[in-house]
Protein backbone atom coordinates (compact mmCIF):
# COMPACT_ATOMS: atom_id res chain seq x y z
CA UNK A 1 0.00 0.00 0.00
CA UNK A 2 1.21 3.49 -0.76
CA UNK A 3 -1.10 5.92 0.95
CA UNK A 4 -1.91 9.51 0.11
CA UNK A 5 -0.67 12.19 2.49
CA UNK A 6 -2.92 15.24 2.75
CA UNK A 7 -2.26 18.28 4.95
CA UNK A 8 -5.15 20.44 6.18
CA UNK A 9 -3.89 23.97 6.64
CA UNK A 10 -5.06 27.59 6.75
CA UNK A 11 -2.49 30.00 8.13
CA UNK A 12 -5.01 31.62 10.45
CA UNK A 13 -6.16 29.81 13.56
CA UNK A 14 -9.77 29.07 14.40
CA UNK A 15 -11.09 28.63 10.87
CA UNK A 16 -11.95 24.95 11.36
CA UNK A 17 -8.88 22.92 10.43
CA UNK A 18 -9.21 20.43 13.27
CA UNK A 19 -12.96 19.96 12.82
CA UNK A 20 -12.43 19.48 9.09
CA UNK A 21 -9.66 16.94 9.68
CA UNK A 22 -11.73 14.97 12.19
CA UNK A 23 -14.79 14.89 9.95
CA UNK A 24 -12.95 14.04 6.74
CA UNK A 25 -11.12 11.27 8.59
CA UNK A 26 -14.37 9.79 9.86
CA UNK A 27 -16.17 10.23 6.52
CA UNK A 28 -13.36 8.65 4.50
CA UNK A 29 -13.08 5.69 6.85
CA UNK A 30 -16.87 5.25 6.65
CA UNK A 31 -16.35 5.01 2.89
CA UNK A 32 -14.09 2.03 3.49
CA UNK A 33 -10.69 3.70 3.44
CA UNK A 34 -8.08 3.05 6.10
CA UNK A 35 -7.31 6.51 7.47
CA UNK A 36 -4.68 7.78 9.90
CA UNK A 37 -4.98 11.29 11.31
CA UNK A 38 -1.91 13.08 12.62
CA UNK A 39 -2.27 15.98 15.03
CA UNK A 40 0.74 18.14 14.12
CA UNK A 41 -0.23 20.89 16.55
CA UNK A 42 2.33 19.92 19.16
CA UNK A 43 1.76 21.72 22.46
CA UNK A 44 -1.84 22.57 21.58
CA UNK A 45 -3.35 19.14 21.15
CA UNK A 46 -7.03 19.15 20.14
CA UNK A 47 -7.81 16.66 17.40
CA UNK A 48 -8.20 13.97 20.08
CA UNK A 49 -10.85 16.04 21.85
CA UNK A 50 -12.83 16.84 18.70
CA UNK A 51 -12.83 13.12 17.86
CA UNK A 52 -13.80 12.10 21.39
CA UNK A 53 -10.59 10.09 21.84
CA UNK A 54 -8.96 12.23 24.54
CA UNK A 55 -9.22 9.57 27.24
CA UNK A 56 -7.38 6.97 25.24
CA UNK A 57 -4.00 8.64 24.76
CA UNK A 58 -1.01 6.80 26.18
CA UNK A 59 1.78 7.79 23.80
CA UNK A 60 2.06 10.60 21.26
CA UNK A 61 3.99 11.56 18.13
CA UNK A 62 6.96 12.89 20.12
CA UNK A 63 7.24 9.57 21.96
CA UNK A 64 7.33 7.87 18.56
CA UNK A 65 10.09 10.05 17.08
CA UNK A 66 12.09 9.81 20.31
CA UNK A 67 11.67 6.04 20.12
CA UNK A 68 10.02 5.78 23.53
CA UNK A 69 7.37 3.61 21.92
CA UNK A 70 6.48 1.92 18.66
CA UNK A 71 4.30 3.78 16.16
CA UNK A 72 1.62 1.10 16.61
CA UNK A 73 1.49 1.73 20.35
CA UNK A 74 0.86 5.44 19.89
CA UNK A 75 -1.88 5.02 17.28
CA UNK A 76 -5.36 5.15 18.77
CA UNK A 77 -7.89 3.04 16.94
CA UNK A 78 -11.38 4.51 16.91
CA UNK A 79 -13.77 1.97 18.44
CA UNK A 80 -16.72 3.40 16.50
CA UNK A 81 -14.88 3.05 13.19
CA UNK A 82 -11.96 0.61 13.16
CA UNK A 83 -10.72 2.01 9.83
CA UNK A 84 -9.80 5.23 11.62
CA UNK A 85 -6.71 5.84 13.75
CA UNK A 86 -5.25 8.92 15.43
CA UNK A 87 -1.63 9.77 16.12
CA UNK A 88 -1.97 12.41 18.83
CA UNK A 89 0.24 15.46 19.37
CA UNK A 90 2.29 15.86 22.53
CA UNK A 91 0.74 18.37 24.89
CA UNK A 92 3.74 19.41 26.97
CA UNK A 93 6.33 19.91 24.23
CA UNK A 94 6.78 22.47 21.48
CA UNK A 95 6.95 22.45 17.69
CA UNK A 96 10.71 21.82 17.66
CA UNK A 97 10.18 18.38 19.22
CA UNK A 98 9.60 16.95 15.75
CA UNK A 99 11.64 17.69 12.62
CA UNK A 100 10.39 17.63 9.02
CA UNK A 101 12.59 14.54 8.41
CA UNK A 102 11.00 12.72 11.33
CA UNK A 103 7.54 13.65 10.06
CA UNK A 104 8.40 12.15 6.67
CA UNK A 105 9.64 8.99 8.39
CA UNK A 106 6.44 8.63 10.43
CA UNK A 107 4.31 9.16 7.32
CA UNK A 108 6.32 6.65 5.30
CA UNK A 109 5.70 4.10 8.02
CA UNK A 110 1.95 4.90 8.11
CA UNK A 111 1.68 4.77 4.31
CA UNK A 112 2.40 1.04 4.48
CA UNK A 113 -0.81 0.42 6.38
CA UNK A 114 -3.17 3.23 5.58
CA UNK A 115 -4.83 4.46 2.37
CA UNK A 116 -4.98 8.06 3.46
CA UNK A 117 -3.03 10.07 6.02
CA UNK A 118 -4.46 13.45 6.97
CA UNK A 119 -2.27 15.89 8.86
CA UNK A 120 -3.91 18.58 10.96
CA UNK A 121 -1.53 21.54 10.58
CA UNK A 122 -1.08 24.09 13.37
CA UNK A 123 -1.89 27.75 12.73
CA UNK A 124 1.00 29.95 11.65
CA UNK A 125 3.79 29.61 9.11
CA UNK A 126 6.66 28.64 11.38
CA UNK A 127 8.23 25.30 12.35
CA UNK A 128 4.92 23.57 13.04
CA UNK A 129 3.69 24.41 9.55
CA UNK A 130 6.97 23.26 7.99
CA UNK A 131 6.74 19.95 9.85
CA UNK A 132 3.12 19.43 8.89
CA UNK A 133 3.68 19.95 5.15
CA UNK A 134 7.01 18.09 4.90
CA UNK A 135 5.50 14.70 4.08
CA UNK A 136 2.37 15.88 2.27
CA UNK A 137 1.86 15.70 -1.47
CA UNK A 138 -1.68 17.07 -1.31
CA UNK A 139 -3.12 19.99 0.61
CA UNK A 140 -6.48 21.34 1.63
CA UNK A 141 -6.76 25.03 2.46
CA UNK A 142 -9.56 25.84 4.90
CA UNK A 143 -10.75 29.43 4.92
CA UNK A 144 -13.71 31.40 6.20
CA UNK A 145 -15.36 33.98 3.95
CA UNK A 146 -13.79 36.94 5.74
CA UNK A 147 -10.79 39.15 5.02
CA UNK A 148 -8.18 37.95 7.52
CA UNK A 149 -8.52 34.23 6.91
CA UNK A 150 -8.51 34.76 3.13
CA UNK A 151 -5.36 36.88 3.33
CA UNK A 152 -3.66 34.20 5.41
CA UNK A 153 -4.86 31.47 3.04
CA UNK A 154 -3.25 33.36 0.16
CA UNK A 155 0.04 33.47 2.05
CA UNK A 156 -0.16 29.71 2.65
CA UNK A 157 -0.90 29.07 -1.03
CA UNK A 158 2.25 31.03 -1.88
CA UNK A 159 4.33 29.05 0.62
CA UNK A 160 2.99 25.71 -0.62
CA UNK A 161 3.84 26.77 -4.15
CA UNK A 162 7.49 27.25 -3.19
CA UNK A 163 8.15 24.02 -1.26
CA UNK A 164 11.00 21.96 -2.64
CA UNK A 165 9.19 18.62 -2.72
CA UNK A 166 6.47 17.67 -5.16
CA UNK A 167 2.96 18.78 -4.23
CA UNK A 168 -0.19 18.95 -6.31
CA UNK A 169 -1.96 22.35 -6.26
CA UNK A 170 -3.96 23.00 -3.08
CA UNK A 171 -7.74 22.63 -2.96
CA UNK A 172 -10.07 25.00 -1.17
CA UNK A 173 -12.73 24.48 1.48
CA UNK A 174 -14.81 27.56 2.26
CA UNK A 175 -15.93 26.91 5.81
CA UNK A 176 -18.62 28.55 7.94
CA UNK A 177 -20.45 30.30 5.16
CA UNK A 178 -23.66 32.04 6.22
CA UNK A 179 -26.03 31.98 3.31
CA UNK A 180 -28.41 34.53 4.80
CA UNK A 181 -25.54 37.03 4.86
CA UNK A 182 -24.35 36.04 1.39
CA UNK A 183 -27.87 36.69 0.09
CA UNK A 184 -27.78 40.17 1.57
CA UNK A 185 -24.38 40.76 -0.03
CA UNK A 186 -22.91 41.21 3.42
CA UNK A 187 -20.58 38.22 3.16
CA UNK A 188 -18.19 37.16 0.41
CA UNK A 189 -19.72 34.34 -1.62
CA UNK A 190 -17.91 31.21 -2.79
CA UNK A 191 -17.19 32.65 -6.25
CA UNK A 192 -15.62 35.74 -4.70
CA UNK A 193 -13.32 33.62 -2.53
CA UNK A 194 -12.42 31.38 -5.47
CA UNK A 195 -11.68 34.38 -7.67
CA UNK A 196 -9.50 36.05 -5.03
CA UNK A 197 -7.48 32.95 -4.15
CA UNK A 198 -7.42 31.37 -7.62
CA UNK A 199 -7.44 27.70 -6.56
CA UNK A 200 -9.90 24.85 -7.17
CA UNK A 201 -12.86 24.45 -4.87
CA UNK A 202 -13.20 21.19 -2.96
CA UNK A 203 -16.28 22.14 -0.99
CA UNK A 204 -18.36 24.62 0.93
CA UNK A 205 -19.41 24.02 4.52
CA UNK A 206 -22.23 26.08 5.99
CA UNK A 207 -21.96 27.67 9.41
CA UNK A 208 -23.96 25.16 11.38
CA UNK A 209 -24.79 24.77 15.06
CA UNK A 210 -24.53 21.01 14.74
CA UNK A 211 -20.73 21.43 14.49
CA UNK A 212 -20.71 22.99 17.95
CA UNK A 213 -23.03 20.42 19.52
CA UNK A 214 -21.25 17.47 17.92
CA UNK A 215 -17.87 18.83 18.99
CA UNK A 216 -19.26 19.23 22.51
CA UNK A 217 -19.91 15.49 22.51
CA UNK A 218 -16.78 14.40 20.67
CA UNK A 219 -18.83 13.00 17.81
CA UNK A 220 -17.83 14.22 14.32
CA UNK A 221 -20.82 15.80 12.54
CA UNK A 222 -20.50 13.36 9.63
CA UNK A 223 -21.80 10.68 12.02
CA UNK A 224 -25.10 12.54 12.43
CA UNK A 225 -28.00 12.08 10.02
CA UNK A 226 -29.43 15.58 10.10
CA UNK A 227 -26.37 17.84 10.04
CA UNK A 228 -26.04 20.14 7.02
CA UNK A 229 -22.35 20.73 7.69
CA UNK A 230 -21.89 16.99 8.18
CA UNK A 231 -23.46 16.33 4.79
CA UNK A 232 -21.20 18.93 3.16
CA UNK A 233 -18.15 17.25 4.72
CA UNK A 234 -19.31 13.80 3.59
CA UNK A 235 -19.59 15.20 0.06
CA UNK A 236 -16.05 16.58 0.32
CA UNK A 237 -14.77 13.16 1.40
CA UNK A 238 -16.31 11.59 -1.69
CA UNK A 239 -14.79 14.29 -3.92
CA UNK A 240 -11.41 13.49 -2.38
CA UNK A 241 -11.88 9.94 -3.65
CA UNK A 242 -12.47 11.26 -7.15
CA UNK A 243 -16.26 11.11 -7.19
CA UNK A 244 -18.07 13.88 -8.99
CA UNK A 245 -20.44 15.06 -6.27
CA UNK A 246 -22.50 18.17 -7.12
CA UNK A 247 -22.19 21.10 -4.75
CA UNK A 248 -24.99 21.34 -2.21
CA UNK A 249 -27.59 24.01 -2.87
CA UNK A 250 -27.12 26.26 0.14
CA UNK A 251 -29.41 28.95 -1.23
CA UNK A 252 -32.46 26.95 -0.17
CA UNK A 253 -34.17 28.74 2.65
CA UNK A 254 -33.82 26.67 5.76
CA UNK A 255 -34.16 29.57 8.14
CA UNK A 256 -36.98 29.10 10.60
CA UNK A 257 -36.50 31.98 13.06
CA UNK A 258 -39.24 34.51 13.75
CA UNK A 259 -37.15 37.29 12.24
CA UNK A 260 -36.63 35.46 8.99
CA UNK A 261 -40.37 34.70 8.92
CA UNK A 262 -41.19 38.40 8.98
CA UNK A 263 -38.33 39.13 6.66
CA UNK A 264 -39.69 36.72 4.08
CA UNK A 265 -43.15 38.22 4.55
CA UNK A 266 -41.82 41.72 3.89
CA UNK A 267 -39.53 40.62 1.09
CA UNK A 268 -42.54 39.37 -0.86
CA UNK A 269 -44.26 42.78 -0.79
Amino acid sequence: MDGRVIVVTSGKGGVGKTTTTANLGMALSNLGKKVALIDADIGLRNLDLVLGLENRIVYDIVDVVEEKCKLKQALIKDKRQPNLALLPAAQTRDKSAVTPEQMIEVCNELKKEFDIIIIDCPAGIEQGFKNAIAAATESIIVTNPEVSSIRDADRIIGLLDSVDHEMIPPKLIVNRIRMEMVKENEMLNVDDVKEILGIDLLGVVPDDESIITSTNKGIPAVMLDNSLAGQALKDIARRLLGENVPFMDLTKDNNTGIFSFFKKLFAKS
Binding site: V147, G158, K263, F266, A267
Partner: protein
Protein backbone atom coordinates in the same frame (compact mmCIF):
# COMPACT_ATOMS: atom_id res chain seq x y z
CA UNK B 1 -34.31 45.22 -2.22
CA UNK B 2 -37.02 44.14 0.21
CA UNK B 3 -39.34 46.49 2.06
CA UNK B 4 -37.52 45.66 5.26
CA UNK B 5 -34.25 46.89 3.80
CA UNK B 6 -35.91 50.17 2.81
CA UNK B 7 -37.49 50.52 6.28
CA UNK B 8 -34.12 50.09 7.98
CA UNK B 9 -32.43 52.43 5.52
CA UNK B 10 -30.00 49.85 4.22
CA UNK B 11 -27.24 51.32 2.08
CA UNK B 12 -26.91 50.34 -1.56
CA UNK B 13 -23.22 49.52 -1.24
CA UNK B 14 -22.73 46.37 0.76
CA UNK B 15 -19.88 45.34 3.02
CA UNK B 16 -19.11 42.39 0.76
CA UNK B 17 -17.89 44.71 -1.98
CA UNK B 18 -15.67 46.49 0.52
CA UNK B 19 -14.21 43.17 1.64
CA UNK B 20 -13.52 42.05 -1.92
CA UNK B 21 -11.89 45.31 -3.02
CA UNK B 22 -9.76 45.62 0.10
CA UNK B 23 -8.65 42.00 -0.15
CA UNK B 24 -7.75 42.21 -3.83
CA UNK B 25 -5.66 45.31 -3.17
CA UNK B 26 -3.87 44.03 -0.09
CA UNK B 27 -3.10 40.70 -1.79
CA UNK B 28 -1.48 42.52 -4.71
CA UNK B 29 0.85 44.18 -2.25
CA UNK B 30 1.40 40.97 -0.25
CA UNK B 31 2.17 38.86 -3.33
CA UNK B 32 4.63 41.34 -4.82
CA UNK B 33 6.14 42.24 -1.46
CA UNK B 34 5.73 45.91 -2.32
CA UNK B 35 4.17 47.61 0.70
CA UNK B 36 1.92 50.66 0.20
CA UNK B 37 4.65 52.94 1.54
CA UNK B 38 7.21 51.74 -0.95
CA UNK B 39 4.80 52.34 -3.82
CA UNK B 40 4.38 55.87 -2.54
CA UNK B 41 8.16 56.41 -2.52
CA UNK B 42 8.35 55.07 -6.08
CA UNK B 43 5.58 57.44 -7.09
CA UNK B 44 7.53 60.43 -5.77
CA UNK B 45 10.70 59.40 -7.57
CA UNK B 46 8.85 58.71 -10.83
CA UNK B 47 7.40 62.20 -10.54
CA UNK B 48 10.86 63.73 -10.07
CA UNK B 49 12.32 61.93 -13.08
CA UNK B 50 9.41 62.47 -15.46
CA UNK B 51 8.94 66.14 -14.58
CA UNK B 52 12.48 66.84 -15.82
CA UNK B 53 11.14 66.19 -19.31
CA UNK B 54 7.43 66.97 -19.26
CA UNK B 55 5.08 69.06 -17.21
CA UNK B 56 3.02 66.82 -14.96
CA UNK B 57 1.00 67.14 -11.77
CA UNK B 58 1.77 65.04 -8.73
CA UNK B 59 -1.95 64.99 -7.94
CA UNK B 60 -2.91 63.36 -11.23
CA UNK B 61 -0.06 60.84 -11.23
CA UNK B 62 -1.25 57.30 -10.57
CA UNK B 63 1.06 54.37 -9.82
CA UNK B 64 -0.73 51.12 -9.02
CA UNK B 65 -0.28 47.38 -8.89
CA UNK B 66 -2.65 45.54 -11.18
CA UNK B 67 -3.40 41.91 -11.96
CA UNK B 68 -2.59 40.97 -15.53
CA UNK B 69 -2.90 37.60 -17.29
CA UNK B 70 -1.27 34.38 -16.03
CA UNK B 71 -1.58 35.50 -12.44
CA UNK B 72 1.16 38.06 -12.97
CA UNK B 73 1.15 41.50 -11.45
CA UNK B 74 2.09 44.68 -13.32
CA UNK B 75 3.19 48.04 -12.05
CA UNK B 76 0.94 50.42 -13.94
CA UNK B 77 1.64 54.14 -14.09
CA UNK B 78 -0.79 56.67 -15.50
CA UNK B 79 0.88 60.04 -15.98
CA UNK B 80 -1.29 62.73 -17.58
CA UNK B 81 0.86 65.45 -19.25
CA UNK B 82 -0.17 69.08 -18.84
CA UNK B 83 1.60 70.71 -21.78
CA UNK B 84 4.82 70.32 -23.64
CA UNK B 85 7.69 72.14 -21.90
CA UNK B 86 8.61 73.97 -25.13
CA UNK B 87 5.18 75.52 -25.37
CA UNK B 88 5.55 76.85 -21.83
CA UNK B 89 8.89 78.47 -22.66
CA UNK B 90 7.55 80.06 -25.85
CA UNK B 91 4.66 81.75 -24.07
Amino acid sequence: MSLLDILFGKKEKTSKEDAKKRLQLVLLHDRTEIPFEKLDMMKKEIFEVVSKYVDIDMSSLEVNLENIEDGKVALVANIPINKRKNDNQNN
